[in-house]
Amino acid sequence: MEIIDKVIAKNGLIFAFLFVGFVMLFSFLISKKLLRNKIPGVAIAILIGLALAFTGNKKGMADIPLFAGMAILGGSMFRDFAVVATAMSADISKIKQAGLAGIISLFIGVTVTFSLGATIAYFMGYTDAVSMTTIAAGAGTYIVGPVTGTALGASSDVIAISVATGVIKTIFTTIITPVIAKRIKLDNPHAAVVFGGLIGTTSGVVAGLAATDEKLVPYGALTATFYTGVGCLLYPSVFYLILKFFGF
């Protein structure tokens, strides 16, 4: 037993490959045999992933030493590397066609999220401009939240709420995207570009699109990756000043 632990501890990433491989196999079997492909295997695998995250705390299941390698495999380095690679199968003419819609959707997404987020924060008892902006920023992405909160000097519990809001957004997007994709006509590259700009959480968008239709992933990722930047730019400056202007 001790030797097994030692081998796995020293080869965490390799063990993560094996483990995720099993999760994928298991998910696709369930999808095929039990659900007759009604729910895609990818969606089941992601849901199993989320469920497994409850076994740990800050780093999900990677908090368990045996699964520490999962944090490397699922970390931002590998994630971004693989997402960039998906660009190989993207059609440049479709990106060009959707370019303007993508940029517009970025700004509309950030603005709508701010207005709604700040309003919700206000009605739930966070009535000062700094807290309202920070919580709304978290509803952008879980990176925009703390960046904005730190810039404005928000209290640490408000920053924690903003991070939680962002993670909820990621999880919600992951689960709900394949469910409502048809209803919101998310079935072509053009819509995926706009979707990425509107929602912005790269991990949620990529996971949600993967569970919907793998071909759409590069298109959504392309715009989503600019969202955090636009958010970090607008929240602590323009949006905060707007709230101040209205007397909060």
Binding site: A53, M61, F81, A85, I168, V194, L233
Partner: protein
């Protein structure tokens, strides 16, 4: 050789990240702004160029396609390493704000998708 493809991908990735971080520095936010987006555009552009030159052979391409097919397992690993407990215990505000804002933006998709959609020929 496959490694040429992986190396090309790595080059685009690093240059893209560099651009993203430089842009962040430029507007005084110490984070990566659109690095992945820049890297994707670079990869698309360079693969078009190299294909024209006849240098992008299928074997090289396989090096990139391998990583492209790895993103789903990577996303599963990412999902398993999210701080879900904190997200759930972040309180009611976090849950309401996170879900309502996201849902509202999703509902805007059919409207915004129409922009530039029916133009078969580009304007201006």
């Amino acid at each position: 050789m496959k490694i040429y493809g992986v190396a090309l991908l790595a080059a685009c990735f690093l240059v893209g990240k560099l651009l993203g971080n430089l842009l962040g520095k430029l507007i005084n936010i110490n984070s990566d702004i659109g690095g992945v987006g820049f890297a994707m555009i670079l990869l698309i552009a360079s693969s078009i160029y190299l294909r024209k030159k006849g240098w992008l052979v299928p074997e090289t391409e396989k090096g990139i396609l391998f990583w492209s097919s790895m993103y789903i397992p990577i996303i599963v690993a990412m999902a398993a390493t999210l701080n879900v407990k904190a997200a759930v215990s972040g309180g009611f505000v976090a849950v309401v704000a996170g879900i309502v804002t996201t849902f509202a933006c999703m509902m805007l998709l059919p409207v915004l998708s129409k922009i530039g959609k029916n133009d078969t020929s580009p304007k201006n």
